[in-house]
């Protein structure tokens, strides 16, 4: 399988894991074969549910409540060449515990919930060290500090006594890595370690992993669904679909000569974004649809009665001025906390800014200030400005059928009823690429992409003029994301929509948007045509942001060691 002549540190053969269930078993992974090589990074790609994480856990032999039905996981000592088969061991036996953490370490996607909230970072690292190394506590603490230093955490002596919630997301992930490498493992399994992070942070973490890998000669098993990341760091790639590895090979081969159609689909979807052509700028009328002027939004500054916490005033938006022109797609990019979502909520009347205005000219030509609650009273604005949410799971009421969900705005606004309503819902479903026959189902029967389509159907049900899409594709897997983006583009053209597209993914913005506004710490730092901003950013922050985006091509690796 492996093209490398080197001796693998881990051999996986015919590994299968089942989730036992009343009506038989669900095969999470079936008959996997692969090797991990020292000093090499093997990326596992595939969409969520394809069995990547289960594979990782199966290697550690922690799969309960599932069971490993067959296969072997053999870990081979690099020096002594002694090998140990793991799946046959008791899941809580001393032998396997000696492997876990010491020889195979693992880091996870969500660093907040993967760290105990009630122990300090130091306590958690020290515990790992004490488990596997014959040192006393003082020494372990010293090593923990060293580990923190190794992952570039500032003043590790102090950071070691902090709790996870006192860390930023990136720092938490570093802490996780510090914990993983504290015992100098042979194999590091990273399960989507950067998915929850901003691109800039992601870049730092990727660099860090690569650096540590080189320094220590670790073998890295890296799980991700982001082809850009794969292209950036992988030596080998395994593509998983429905619990099986459908393609396995060196990264260059996977990207430039994919064999399996599914692999091709993945590559295309990510390359598609990258290769979007610059679109012509639509002609501008004399007046923007929404004119945002000098908005300042600030939170808190008051005492909360029941939560017993006193918040200081946090400025979320500062002198934000933007305009949305009819028919254009305006991208708003920035890291989390940059204020982009707050801006969207200001426009929906959810937050009231301290100062500034957002003048919207409605269909009748009346000007309405979206910062004033009064503008929303007659529901007119709600009919014309619609929102698509980030999370396709939480934005659909699980207790309502798809029909009810899509019909709700129509019903509330008294636009249709009875058979007509049903027909319109059917039409809307078909328009977003879903079958009208699915109308009576509940959201939980749909995939993420399908749900997002339902959300879009709801948004366009009222024939709006503006759609605010808040990170609407960031929760989706690559190929699905591309479909949704194309759908939005189609709808724009069909319905003459204007779209404010809020995202942190530069690739997506570049693909979809006409113009882009880059936000940083509540301010707009740069605006311009999408391809100009993405290809030739002026502002230094934008430059950093752009350069942090991994390119989905292993031949154009962009990350450089800091």
């Amino acid at each position: 399988m492996s093209t490398s002549p080197e001796q693998p540190v881990l051999q996986v053969r015919k590994l299968s894991v089942d989730f036992p269930h009343k009506d038989g078993a669900f095969h999470a992974i079936e008959s996997l074969n692969f090797d991990l090589l020292p000093g090499k990074t093997t990326c596992f790609v595939g969409e969520s549910g394809s069995g990547k994480s289960v594979t990782a856990r199966a290697i550690m032999n922690i799969v309960d409540p599932a069971i490993i039905t067959q296969g072997s996981v053999t870990i081979i000592d690099r020096e002594s060449q002694n090998s140990l088969e793991l799946t046959s061991l008791d899941t809580d036996s001393e032998e396997i515990r000696a492997v876990r953490g010491a020889r195979i370490a693992m880091i996870f996607q969500e660093p907040m919930s993967s760290l105990s909230p009630v122990h300090t970072i130091g306590q958690q690292i020290v515990e790992a060290i004490l488990l596997h190394q014959d040192v006393n506590e003082t020494e372990a603490r010293k090593r923990a500090i060293e580990a923190l230093k190794a992952v570039h955490i500032h003043s590790p002596e102090r950071a070691v006594d902090r709790y996870p919630f006192e860390y930023s997301g990136g720092m938490r992930q570093r802490a996780m890595i510090a914990m993983a490498i504290a015992c100098e493992p042979d194999i590091l399994i990273a399960d989507e370690p950067t998915t929850a992070l901003d691109v800039t942070t992601q870049a730092e973490i990727l660099l860090l992993i690569r650096e540590l890998q080189r320094k220590r000669g670790m073998s890295v098993m890296f799980i991700t669904h982001d082809m850009g990341v794969v292209a950036e760091i992988a030596d080998d790639v395994a593509v998983m679909l429905n619990g099986r590895i459908v393609e396995h090979g060196p990264v260059d081969q996977i990207f430039h000569a994919p064999k399996h159609p599914y692999t091709r689909k993945l590559i295309d979807a990510s390359l598609g974004l990258e290769q979007a052509a610059a679109r012509p700028v639509p002609p501008r009328p004399d007046k923007p649809l929404i004119q945002i002027d000098d908005i300042r939004l600030q939170f808190g500054g008051h005492k909360s009665w029941f939560s017993k916490t006193v918040y200081g005033a946090v400025v979320a938006l500062e002198s934000v001025s933007l305009s949305l022109w009819p028919g254009e797609i305006l991208g708003i990019v920035g890291e989390s906390g940059s204020g982009k979502t707050s801006l969207g909520r200001v426009l929906m009347g959810r937050y009231k800014p301290v100062s500034g205005s957002a003048i919207y000219t409605d269909r009748q030509g009346r000007e309405r200030d979206l910062t004033q609650a009064a503008s929303f009273r007659d529901k007119q604005v709600y009919r014309e400005i619609r929102m698509i949410f980030q999370d396709p799971y939480s934005s659909l009421n699980p207790r309502m059928t798809v029909e009810q969900i899509i019909a709700e705005p129509l019903r509330i606004n008294g636009l249709a009823s009875g058979n007509e309503l049903r027909e319109r819902v059917a039409n809307l479903l078909e328009r977003v690429g879903l079958s009208a026959s699915m109308m009576e189902r509940y959201p939980h029967a749909f995939s993420g992409g399908q749900r997002q389509r339902i959300g879009i159907a709801r948004a366009i049900a009222l024939e709006p003029r503006v759609i605010i899409a808040d990170e609407s594709t960031s929760a989706l897997d690559g190929s699905v994301r591309a479909q949704i983006l194309d759908l939005l583009l189609d709808l724009r053209d069909e319905l003459g929509l204007s779209i404010i597209f809020i995202a942190h993914d530069i690739g997506v913005v570049r693909y979809l948007c006409d113009r882009v506004a880059v936000m940083h710490r509540g301010r707009v730092v740069e605006t311009g045509l999408a391809h100009q901003v993405c290809d030739a950013p002026v502002d230094s922050y934008t430059q950093r942001l752009i350069s942090a985006v991994p390119r989905p091509d292993p031949r154009q690796r962009g990350l450089r060691s800091a």
């Binding site: 269930h21 429905n242 009919r383």
Partner: protein, 386 residues
């Protein structure tokens, strides 16, 4: 974990294969899902049957009761339970299916001040189905004197669970008590729910000062020691009220102090739901607050409310019992489990008439069953919980 992975996997299958798995979860509504998951909880299922049985007993108490629960029988004070026999053997030694009990031989021991009962196998009392007995109103509406079963001759003693100090049939009293006790629990919880959902809902939805005041009030009410408070409230009740009125007021008192727990649950759910995107979506659809609350938010935690309620009912039943113990709850001629137990609250009964503790067993079974149903509901409550 398990189910999440499965759903995901199912969802990500290509569309054409959705018929394979999709039908399973496709069009099931929340209730169908809850029902399905609830059915998998064996204890809860059995408990539910038990509760249905209890409810049936409560509704048809009079019909099921073989004797008048209030009828005093001088000859049969503290009569022990009779064994129920099904197979009858006549003089010729032939066997036949004929339910019967044996009569008693009664002796008075003047020194010990008691009646001594000896089961007399020579006196067979045959039981018939649908016999005429004391009059009652079926469902409180239709006058009737037909009872599910009873002795062939109306005046024969039939004490399957023994009799109390006034010779009243314990089984019949227990059945009648079921009605009151269960309804105290249910009515009390319904009232608590009303206050709890209303107040908790307002607090959770609007927050602000109302929430602050509500929070303080709840904290305050919960800091009151319940029993002394009940006592004081119960003893403040004008005594010339009819038993029925007393019953309602007792229930009201219990629920007045019981709403806090539910309000807390409701408030918490509201607070959490308020930030759900689909609630925001409903607002952006232009829905009014009432519609948002009723159509979009309340359905999301009805299952939680039901769970909370199913766990609160036993509390009410026990509270009523405790009040009765202190002599402040319901009282005869109203028959509730608490009243029955209060009458059994003495060494004399423990020593010589332990069958009078049957209501205690009924309480235990009912409370256990409700808790298991509550547990089952909780496990099944939120099939969408991720």
């Amino acid at each position: 974990m398990n189910s999440t992975i499965m759903t995901e996997a199912a969802a990500d299958l290509p569309e054409d294969s959705s018929t394979v798995r999709g039908t399973l979860a496709g069009t099931e509504s929340q209730w169908q899902l809850i029902r399905r998951r609830f059915r998998q909880h064996r204890m809860a299922r059995v408990s539910l049957y038990i509760l249905i049985l209890f409810a049936f007993c409560a509704v048809f108490a009079n019909f099921l009761a073989p004797k008048d629960p209030l009828k005093v029988q001088a000859r049969y004070t503290y009569a022990p339970p009779q064994g129920l026999h099904f197979i009858d053997r006549d003089e010729n030694g032939d066997w036949s299916f004929r339910p019967h009990v044996y009569g008693y031989k009664v002796e008075v021991e003047p020194e010990a001040l008691r009646r001594v009962f000896v089961i007399d196998p020579s006196k067979k009392i045959y039981l018939n189905w649908f016999v005429e007995g004391h009059e009652y109103k079926l469902l409180g509406l239709f006058p009737s004197n037909i009872h599910l079963f009873g002795p062939e001759r109306k005046r024969d003693p039939l004490y399957l669970l023994g009799s109390d100090r006034l010779g009243r049939d314990m089984l019949s009293r227990l059945l009648l008590g079921t009605r009151i006790s269960l309804s105290v629990g249910i009515v009390g919880v319904v009232l608590s729910l009303f206050f709890g959902v209303l107040i908790g809902g307002l607090a959770g939805f609007y927050g602000g000062w109302f929430d602050a005041v509500t929070q303080r009030t709840i904290e305050f009410l919960r800091s009151l020691p319940t029993i002394p408070l009940w006592m004081a409230l119960a003893s403040a009740m004008p005594s010339d009220w009819s038993p029925l009125r007393v019953y309602f007021v007792i229930t009201l008192i219990l629920s007045l102090l019981g709403w806090t727990e539910l309000a807390r649950v409701v408030r918490g759910r509201f607070l959490a739901l308020k930030d759900e995107d689909y609630v925001a979506a409903a607002l952006y659809d232009g829905a009014s607050h009432i519609r948002v609350v009723m159509r979009h938010m309340v359905p999301a935690f009805t299952s939680h409310i039901i769970t909370a309620a199913s766990l609160a009912i036993p509390g009410m039943i026990l509270a009523e019992t405790a009040l009765s113990f202190l002599g402040l709850g319901l009282q005869s001629p109203v028959v509730s489990w608490g009243v029955l137990l209060q009458e059994a609250q003495n060494i004399r009964v423990l020593a010589t008439a332990p069958w009078l503790l049957a209501p205690g067993l009924a309480i235990v079974i009912a409370v256990l069953a409700m808790n298991f149903v509550g547990d089952g509901l909780r496990d099944a409550a939120d099939p969408y919980a991720r």
